[in-house]
């Protein structure tokens, strides 16, 4: 599978309710081997490709622009891979129970 096949896929819970779309994919990179392991998916309301990521970073300047961009991405959350039941060409389905985590980057 390639990354852009995943991006913008709708995300549904076990009952079939649409939660949003995949806006990004999170990896953990081993500092020595640089192996990048998939951790989870960022789920947002809309697919913005322009100036994305303000909800995850700590940038606050220029204040007006940063505030607008963060507001635009409001409601974004992180789902760990373990909470994903299946990935289909028409959407990502989550398990019965899943946890919404903060999207913030450490």
């Amino acid at each position: 599978m390639i990354l852009t096949e995943l991006l913008a896929l709708p995300v549904l819970d076990a009952a079939g309710t649409r939660l949003g779309i995949v806006t990004d994919v999170r990896f953990a990179v081993d500092p020595d081997s640089l192996e990048a392991t998939l951790q989870g998916f960022l789920i947002g309301r809309r697919d913005h490709s322009v100036f994305l990521g303000y909800e995850r970073k700590s940038e606050t300047a220029p204040a007006l622009i940063a505030r607008f961009l963060r507001w635009r991405e409001r409601g974004t959350f992180l789902i760990l891979l373990d909470d994903v039941r299946s990935i289909e060409p028409d959407g990502v389905r989550l398990r019965e129970t899943y946890t919404r985590y903060s999207p913030a980057l450490p």
Binding site: V50, L52, I65
Partner: protein, 410 residues
């Protein structure tokens, strides 16, 4: 001593390199039709270009990333590509205007038809890009461009009615000028676009990488920009003043490059004309080099190709091929008989329309710690940046309706 010389050289280059065909034509047109009532726009434009040239240079020196790499990274492939397409086309238009400007200047010097000079100009531009070292091409055209100081001298030789000029500066139009408000604002945008062209930013940030700037070079670059550009802006203003003093009272609205020259002839005679022509050739030639390089820079940076004059051409093959194709397109357009002055008049307005595409990504990245570490923008820079973003957005949005309403300023 050497440091002082280096500083002086940088400043002089910035002054001489500031003016291009867009400034020559637009300043003169505006002076001949509106007197000095639009000079304030040049001042605003110069502050804006200082702010953004300085910011893009700092981003390039600190992060090592040039403008179009950043545009792609921060806007994504799709929107970045739309931006590339628009910027590349406008840059091509400017390139065509500059090469045409070289030919018109050489026609003024020789009396020979521009059709003969156009291929000569295009080949000369390519040869210099192909073989001459980056710092040499930048400094030589910049220093020769200083010849345009003759316009500032001409202002004094013309013994103008200073009180009348002062009242024009205070936005009271001269009696001979009968332009509508729509035309006034259309030319305000054209003048703004001629001072703040996107290619200047592509060239400035890529040039910083060509010359291997590090954060240590930022002090020098700040002096070049903050002293050189405003003095360059004074040359633009001088061109407008000479047109306002000589052409406006005779109701000569400038439509060709030869008319730009007439006030200098009246002020200083043959010698002044020869100096001004040298300045014309240097300014248009320098800008033709910058726009040609910018066409290569923008495409190569978007697609991640190797680029730069610091590499052997064979190791930046796609970059050099892009520039050759760009020059050939410009040459083709000019050989159809298109008027470079008209191309210029449109290119400065389209530059104003495209400004937000270049400036917003730079403003955002100049605040990003991932790229800039602790050298992010200060509060004052951000405040000014936001003020200019608003101005740029208004100019960009208003340009097309004003263009239609004023029939492109006719």
């Amino acid at each position: 001593m050497k440091a002082v010389l280096g500083l002086a050289l940088g400043v002089l280059t910035a002054i001489g390199g500031f003016v291009d065909i867009g400034d020559l034509v637009t300043s003169s047109v505006v002076g001949s039709r509106f007197g000095l009532t639009l000079v304030w726009v040049i001042v605003v434009g110069v502050v804006g270009i200082c702010l953004f040239a300085q910011m893009s240079g700092r981003v390039a020196a600190v992060s090592g990333r040039a403008t179009f790499e950043i545009i792609r990274e921060r806007l994504g492939a799709r929107v970045g590509f739309a931006n590339l397409a628009a910027s590349f086309l406008i840059n091509l238009m400017t390139l065509t205007a500059e090469v045409g400007g070289i030919a018109l200047s050489l026609q003024l010097a020789s009396g020979l038809q521009p059709v003969l000079w156009i291929p000569v100009a295009a080949i000369a531009v390519w040869l210099v890009i192909w073989r001459v070292k980056f710092s040499v091409l930048e400094n030589v055209t910049g220093l020769l461009g200083l010849a345009l100081v003759v316009f500032a001298v001409a202002v004094f030789l013309l013994h103008p009615d200073w009180a009348a000029l002062g009242s024009q500066l205070a936005l009271r139009p001269p009696p001979q000028s009968s332009e509508s408000a729509v035309t006034y604002w259309y030319f305000a945008i054209a003048l703004f676009g001629s001072a703040m062209t996107p290619y200047e930013v592509f060239f400035f940030s890529s040039g910083a990488i060509e010359e291997h700037w590090t954060p240590k070079d930022l002090g020098q670059s700040r002096v070049n920009v903050l002293v050189g550009f405003p003095l360059g802006g004074l040359l633009s203003i001088s061109i407008a003043v000479t047109a306002a003093v000589v052409l406006l009272p005779q109701m000569i609205a400038v439509t060709s490059l030869s008319q730009v020259l007439l006030p200098v002839a009246q002020a200083g005679g043959t010698i002044a004309v020869i100096i001004a022509l040298l300045g014309f050739v240097a300014a248009t030639f320098g800008a033709a080099l910058e726009t040609t390089l910018s066409s290569g820079y923008s495409l190569a940076q978007y697609f991640g190709w190797s680029w730069g004059k610091f590499r052997r051409p064979a190791q930046a093959a796609r970059f050099h091929l892009t520039m050759i194709i760009g020059l050939l397109i410009g040459l083709g357009v000019l050989l159809t008989g298109a008027d470079p002055v008209q191309i210029t008049e449109y290119s400065v307005v389209f530059s104003a329309i495209a400004l937000p595409l270049t400036y917003l990504p730079i403003l955002i990245v100049a605040n990003d710690h991932e790229y800039m570490g602790d050298r992010v923008n200060g509060r004052l820079t951000n405040l000014l940046g936001l003020v200019f973003l608003v101005i740029i957005l208004i100019a960009s949005i208003a340009a097309i309706p004003l263009m239609i309403l004023s029939a492109a300023g006719s």
